[in-house]
């Protein structure tokens, strides 16, 4: 069984560890420097995907695995993109309804007197 294990030089783990530290520092700086708008969101996503990719590829050894398992694990989560799209549409619609009809949120729970 030992032949099946993932064995790699220790240097690569130190490198990835360091990179993850730098990328985390970068994403923290996004907040510290109070960047706003699309610049903030795109930088957050960029650093997030880079960190996630390094963890999965190197620490979880996915880059050295055969495509049979890589595809079995990474293709199914793609359906979440559909859920994100659907719920974004739904959330947007709910917001529109609330903003149109229930915008007086502070009085939402108080009983309305109808005459």
């Amino acid at each position: 069984m030992a032949t099946e294990g993932q064995q790699h030089p220790i240097a690569i783990y130190f490198w990835i560890w360091g990179l993850l530290f730098v990328l985390s520092a970068f994403s923290y700086m996004v907040d510290y420097l109070a960047l706003q708008g699309y610049l903030r969101w795109s930088l957050i996503l960029l650093f997030m995907f880079l960190k996630a990719g390094l963890i999965v590829a190197i620490f979880m050894h996915m880059v050295w695995e055969r495509l049979a398992i890589v595809y079995a694990i990474f293709v199914p989560p793609m359906v979440i993109l559909v859920l994100i799209l659907l719920m974004a549409l739904e959330g947007d619609y709910t917001w529109l309804v609330r903003d149109t009809f229930f915008s007086d949120w502070s009085n939402f729970f108080t009983v309305q007197e109808h005459h």
Binding site: M1, A2, T3, E4, G5, Q6, Q7, H8, I10, Y13, F14, I16, W17, L20, F21, S24, S27, Y28, V30, D31, Y32, A34, R40, W41, I44, L45, F47, M48, K51, A52, I55, V56, I58, F59, M60, H61, E65, R66, L67, A68, I69, A72, I73, P76, P77, I80, L83, I84, M87, A88, E90, G91, D92, T94, W95, R98, D99, F102, S103, W105
Partner: protein, 233 residues
């Protein structure tokens, strides 16, 4: 475990592996494949949480609390934004680093170093949970955040916060317990002696450290997404 046919690389290998009428995941021990499939299901759980969070945040007409201010720490009179969360992030990343090295030294059958690295990983994990407990206490006692309301803005903020970080913290806690169990097994030489584990006849082997590592890296991975979407967004 040599395969009867020479393994092909790339996409050809993908179809060949799946159509081989043998196990599909060649080069992946059974336990590791099972851990990956568990992690896939866990991916869906955390995705559902984060998508729900997106939905409630998009649909509320009340202003969402500014996490940068909510999670700021007072350091000698200066408000540093998200300080505790940043420290927690670095601690969890460091624990992933030590875990990856524990796997390496495990396969080298270096009992002493593997044990120490696993213990260090567990200590980092426990530190993370401790800081999270501090964060929850601060939010509940000082800021008055509840799952149904908070003084800062949209009431959904509390429910999302407790649900997502609570589930993640539970994963870390369970991971710490299993790290300690794995560390003790390494120290006692249960993997060298191929002793069967608890409630199983399967022999102990250092591959278990790698499977444990997959779970631990996944916990770190989930935190990357929580950090980005909940704390930074």
């Amino acid at each position: 475990m040599a395969e009867s046919v020479e393994m092909q690389p790339g996409l050809k290998g993908l179809t060949a592996d799946w159509g081989s009428d043998q196990r599909a995941f060649k080069g992946v021990p059974w336990g590791k494949a099972m851990m990956w499939i568990f992690l896939l299901s866990d991916t869906f759980i955390f995705s559902c949480f984060l998508v729900s969070y997106m939905t409630v945040r998009m649909s509320t007409t009340v202003e969402w609390p500014n996490s940068s201010e909510v999670f700021a720490l007072d350091v000698f009179g200066v408000q540093v934004p998200l300080l505790l969360i940043a420290i927690m992030t670095f601690i969890l990343i460091s624990s992933s680093g030590t875990m990856a090295m524990a796997v390496k030294f495990g396969y080298e059958k270096n009992k002493k170093v593997t044990f120490r690295l696993l213990v260090v990983t567990a200590i980092f994990g426990a530190m993370f949970v401790g800081m999270q407990a501090f964060e929850w206490t601060k939010l509940i006692m000082d800021e008055g955040v509840r799952p149904w309301s908070n003084p800062m803005g949209a009431p959904q903020f509390g429910s999302v916060f407790f649900m997502v970080t609570g589930f993640h913290g539970t994963h870390v806690s369970i991971g710490v317990i299993f790290l300690i169990i794995t560390a003790v097994k390494v120290k006692r030489g249960r993997f060298d002696n191929e002793d069967p584990g608890f409630m199983t006849g399967r022999k102990g082997r250092y591959e278990i450290v790698e499977t444990m590592g997959l779970y631990w890296h996944f916990v770190d991975l989930v935190w990357v997404f929580i950090f980005a979407f909940f704390y930074l967004w």
